[in-house]
Subunit: 262 residues, 2 copies
DNA sequence: CATGGCGATTCCGTCTGATGGAAGATCGAA
DNA sequence: TTCGATCTTCCATCAGACGGAATCGCCATG
């Protein structure tokens, strides 16, 4: 498998996949190179995609992702549906603190940022909506991993752990202990594990099936900030979103939810 | 043309297009019916789409839009790029008023809502991110039309104007006059033209090429609210976003920009 | 002003892989 | 147990996807 020539559908998808946060506008030649498709083939497929609205083309002749695709993408349950439920709570959290507030989901062993409210004068962090990041380093990632399926946790623990700063969790043992601690306290702290100057406090959001579907976090400067005061706010926010999503866990009494081991 | 059998790409796209705000989860049979594709064909294509991540499938066997597609869609320039620039300003606007704040773009003669901050206790409006609406009825739509390409304006004026309430602009003449007035004042007011109980104040956002690329609006209760006080705020917000996008118009002196006729 | 290189576009003969009817599998309701 | 509806798999056929090659346009270089 995989050796045979790719199907038409795969080719079309490979074109869509060629776009990334770092490559949002491309020429025919660039797409052709990126996907390995012959220029003539890429040209034809791009024409069809553009005609439909999946891609757009300016006078400059370059291709970019089209509004129509954005529209369909917005229908993703873990994209917009989640966002819609979460926004009011993130809003509150932002208004109370004016720091960076983020919402992310887990995909494989990476987190994908789904929503973000950036204060103009909050710490600068390079996360961005639609961006991916290794789960083990971020607050949201740890919160999600701690409540993920055991297989996923195991893969994360045994897999390679990329270091971003000296404080990044570097060994499986460290990670395992961190996850247990997060389950115990209900919040995850990532202190300078991505960028030394930033600290994040995160809490998991549960869905109707009582599975962790997302995580909220707030990012503050690492130095001299008493993050402890943020814990109740982040927890309350995550819990509010869980309730809005219909999580049974969030409908029960506060204590049973927070101190539940699994 | 159009009579010939659709190409593979068209079939794949027709599957994506089958999803809509009202139909976010579908069974194979439903998709097959919706697209007109034979079940066997739809099944194969759905398999490929799902394998890639464009669609997702739960244990229930139903298909929904996948995270991967959301991710690509997020790269749309008029989707996320715009949002990223606009968010801080919308944020400010929301914080100052706690009413519904919206950001929309024009696609054809419809507006597409790209961003929205909904206060929990603001007027209830049924707009939603990813939703479309006829431009002539909404505040954002009027603001965008007023600064759109003359051809587009003409199409809107001569085309059929669907009425939503007795206050909806119903004739081409009315619309033409409204657009002129909007160009003069720099803001568009839609008073009960979509829903009787809601009023919106909107202003256009300009991009680098000095073209109106989006519009901001704020929605308040129609009765007894002095919307006049909102005008400066909405204008300032739109202008701030324009500046962030690099609009030459927004970099010039305030007056020349606001009172420019076209 | 000629030349060369690169990208975009069009053409069309070849042949591959998409197609979809049919049959089997599964599930639920009557 | 039977019937209907949906999902899945199979495979012989042939529509239409493919892409090499030719053309055009653009720009930098000599």
């Amino acid at each position: 498998m995989g050796s045979s020539r790719p199907s038409v559908t795969e080719r079309v998808l490979s074109i869509l996949g060629a776009f990334s946060p770092g490559r949002t506008v491309m020429s025919l030649a660039e797409i052709s190179r990126q996907t390995g498709l012959p220029a003539a083939t890429a040209h034809r497929l791009l024409g069809e995609l553009t005609r439909w609205g999946a891609l757009e083309r300016d006078d400059d002749g370059l291709y970019r992702v089209g509004l129509r695709l954005w529209e369909v993408g917005a229908l993703a349950p873990r994209g917009l549906g989640l966002r819609e439920a979460a926004m009011p709570f993130l809003e509150d959290l932002y208004e109370a603190t004016h720091e960076n507030v983020q919402l992310a989901v887990l995909d494989g062993l990476e987190v994908l940022y789904v929503e973000r409210i950036a204060g103009r004068d909050a710490v600068h962090v390079f996360t961005q909506i639609g961006l991916r990041f290794p789960a083990h380093a971020t607050g949201v990632g740890l919160a999600l991993l701690a409540h993920a399926h055991p297989d996923v946790q195991e893969r994360a623990i045994t897999g390679p752990l990329r270091r971003f700063t000296p404080k990044t969790l570097g060994s499986g043992g460290q990670l395992r202990r961190a996850l247990a601690e997060i389950r115990r306290t209900g919040v995850a702290i990532s202190d300078g594990q991505v960028e030394l100057h930033a600290l994040s406090v995160a809490a998991p959001v549960f869905g109707p099936a009582d599975i962790a579907v997302a995580a909220v976090s707030i990012v503050v400067p690492a130095d001299g900030f008493d993050w402890r005061v943020l814990v109740p706010a982040v927890r309350a926010s995550a819990r509010g979103i869980s309730r809005a999503l219909g999580a049974p866990r969030a409908l029960r009494s506060p204590d049973s939810a927070i101190h539940r081991s699994d």
